[in-house]
């Protein structure tokens, strides 16, 4: 049995130009490619193009639910202190948000925190600022997870696996970006997106970003200030306890002296630009503390 593995075909044109090779009878090809190649292939196939002979589509999803297992392989939980055990679920959520379900990125983030203890044993060490950062972004992840279907405009389970990953990664990356920026233009939030978020934009990405901002507004994480949405004073305090978005080198920036304007007016503007916004049932925007983010974490 001869197996030909062609790893890391990054471009659809390269893949399609190998069609004559793939047509070899009785052969075995394992072709490894990024999602954009798979998406292009699917789109063209559905449009009736037969660029390639039949392939079995094996899409590897991001690891959204298996990351705790990955952490447990590396962390000796039975030997952990009560403080560490209490932080573990938050660390899992934090790493899920920061790695966006990519296991190698999760391992990389953990590796950056490895230190040698006094007895020569390796450990993951987080100082108080790092713990504060973990707690803040863990709460942010929980908030986003709770409102996932509403933000995406349709149940996640109804989407294809590749679309699910794209949407989830997009939401997490945008949320992380704008929290780290500390502000976002309310009329054109897309202009504030980072390179990564721009690269994984799903369909209806503008509507998704608008709904995401509504969620952040209603949770009290962001408040309107002129033509911008900025981190609320409470959220600024929370973020300020941390140092940086761990492992990313991003240091959150904050607008000075926020001017709170009419939230309802801003809401109307954003809702008008968002097609079919979902009904969100959360606390109204106001000076009250962000309840969801303050809610104690489930163990």
């Amino acid at each position: 049995m001869v197996v030909v593995v062609i790893d890391r075909i990054e471009d659809w044109d390269v893949m399609s130009s190998l069609a004559n090779l793939f047509r070899a009878p009785n052969s075995i090809f394992l072709v490894v490619a990024p999602p954009q190649v798979q998406a292009r292939w699917q789109t063209r196939r559905q449009a009736g193009h037969e660029d390639l002979p039949p392939f079995l589509d094996i899409y590897l999803t991001c690891l959204w639910d298996e990351l705790p297992q990955l952490l447990e392989r590396h962390i000796d939980l039975p030997a952990a202190s009560p403080e560490a055990l209490a932080l573990f679920p938050k660390l899992t959520r934090y790493l899920t948000l920061m790695s966006t379900g990519i296991p190698s990125r999760c391992v990389e983030l953990m590796e950056q925190r490895v230190e040698m203890g006094g007895d020569g044993e390796a450990m993951l060490k987080f100082d108080d600022k790092a713990v504060a950062t973990i707690e803040f972004y863990s709460a942010l992840h929980e908030l986003l997870h709770l409102n996932e279907d509403e933000m995406l405009g349709s149940p996640l389970g109804a989407m294809a696996a590749a679309d699910q990953d794209r949407c989830r990664r997009f939401v997490l990356t945008v949320a992380r970006d704008i929290v780290a920026r500390g502000s976002v233009p309310s009329q054109s939030p897309m202009s504030a997106l980072g390179k990564i978020a721009s690269g994984i934009r799903p369909r209806d990405h503008e509507a998704i970003v608008n709904r995401l901002l509504l969620v952040l507004l209603e949770a009290g994480l962001f408040v309107p200030s002129g033509k911008m949405l900025i981190l609320s004073p409470q959220a600024r305090q929370e973020v300020a306890k941390g140092r940086e978005v761990l492992g990313t080198g991003i240091v959150p920036r904050f607008a000075e002296d926020p001017v709170i304007e009419s939230a309802s007016e801003l809401n109307r503007t954003m809702m008008a630009s968002a097609p079919a916004p979902p009904a969100l049932h959360r606390q109204p925007i106001g000076p009250s503390p962000p309840r969801r983010c303050r809610r104690p974490m489930q163990p």
């Binding site: 890391r8 990054e10 004559n20 297992q69 790092a130």
Partner: protein, 228 residues
């Protein structure tokens, strides 16, 4: 929160940022479904094309290696007639190799090497077929370009650097000329496909040393040509 922060003791499992080698059955998380799907399909049909996709770092290469590892173990077991099936893996890294033209040349190199390798346990008829296919794809182009003034086979046009035989100054020009020689890549790919099919039809393909070398993804000896 304690004043000194929080520490997590670690197990002795090292952090690994490289793709897994496939040997550890438990190392690959959450991929049982795709792994089993590919293996079952291959065992049932003996052939197949698979597009394995996913975001960078999600474990695509690790999955492929695990599949090959398991496949090797399964094929190594004798069937009811006591026969074993050999597994030969040709692994190409397309990202480093750029376009289809280079991929085809790299593949050609692997196949050429396989044909030349004495470990191949081929019947005479298969060996003849392989040699014919190989000669149609490679031999004439390589030998004619390097060794003589005869024109290059226009179907193949492999870019053999002539500096092997010429002076340094002259070699640059000659090599550049070779790069622009006609190269009908689609014909080459068709022939390569036929060659792979021929090799696949060989009942007992290789001995272990060949398998090991191919399994590492790189030929046993480095190709002499600079553009690999």
């Amino acid at each position: 929160m304690s004043k000194g922060g929080v520490s997590f003791p670690l197990t002795d499992i090292p952090f690994n940022l490289e793709p897994l080698d496939g040997a550890d059955p438990d190392a690959l998380l959450g991929r049982d479904g795709p792994r089993q799907r590919v293996i079952n399909y291959l065992l049932e049909h003996g052939t197949g094309r698979f597009l394995i996709s996913g975001y960078s770092g999600v474990g695509k290469t690790s999955l492929v290696r695990r599949i090959l590892y398991e496949l090797q173990a399964l094929l190594a077991k004798p069937d009811e007639r006591g026969r074993k099936t050999d597994l030969v893996v040709i692994e190409l890294r397309a990202q480093a190799l750029a376009g289809a033209e280079v991929i085809s040349k790299r593949l050609l190199w692997h196949l050429k090497w396989m044909v030349e390798a004495s470990e191949l346990d081929l019947s005479k008829s298969h060996h003849t077929r392989l040699l014919e296919a190989y000669q149609g794809v490679a031999t004439s182009a390589v030998e004619e370009t390097v060794g003589s003034k005869r024109s290059l086979n226009p179907t193949i046009g492999i870019n053999v650097p002539l500096k092997l035989e010429l002076g340094a100054q002259e070699s640059v020009e000659k090599t550049r000329k070779a790069v622009y020689l006609p190269y009908d890549i689609q014909s080459t790919l068709l022939e390569l496909g036929q060659l792979i099919s021929s090799i696949t039809a060989v009942p007992r393909l290789s001995r272990v040393p060949l398998l090991r070398r191919l399994f590492t993804g790189s030929p046993a000896r480095t190709p002499p040509w600079s553009w690999w």
